[in-house]
Symmetry: C2
């Protein structure tokens, strides 16, 4: 299995879909994105993350969590809150966040 | 606002997150993907779609739907079922589908 896929338990669990359009240039984004994935992975309730961004600058990151409380706690972590602020100031033209409860899942692998 | 973003109503609604790793080469994939987005957009309950794929072949497509019944009906549409079959045979190394109920949403635009 490609390691870009999250290895998740059976539902129910939660997904945060983060759709975003990047500004031009890096401005420290790449290093911060890596750092935030590492920090997220250390949080209680974190289950996994999947991410893709096209050459047009539009990307989707789906992070998976055990429950809503874990998501709310992650949003408030100090280093993450700082990254969110810089995201609005510098890295993103626009983003949309949707918090959803995963009810069923299935897949395929060659 | 970047047109890659879906223009969605307030929650609740549903999201189908389709994470996939493509095989090498096109094999008719690009044309079929465009065709499936058009067909999906004609279905009852369709709200929008967002999609990103990186140069590593890993991609995420989030399609948004009014309710679960709309999602089940879309999965069974004949042309879509044919595309799903070819997807397993030819286009995807692996994929994961998660069906989730969006409970809250927020965003930012410059």
């Amino acid at each position: 299995m490609n390691s870009a896929f999250a290895d998740l338990p059976d539902p129910p669990y939660y997904v945060v879909t983060f759709s975003s359009c990047r500004t031009e240039g890096d401005h420290g984004y790449g290093a911060m994105a890596d750092s935030m994935v590492q920090l997220a992975a250390e949080q209680p309730g974190f289950l996994g993350v999947e991410s893709a961004r096209g050459t047009d600058g539009f990307g989707i990151t789906n992070s998976y969590w055990r429950d809503e409380d874990s998501i709310v706690a992650w949003k408030a972590i100090v280093a993450h809150a700082a990254a969110q602020r810089i995201g609005r100031e510098r890295w993103y033209e626009a983003f949309q966040v949707r918090v959803a409860r995963v009810e069923r899942a299935y897949g395929f692998a060659r």
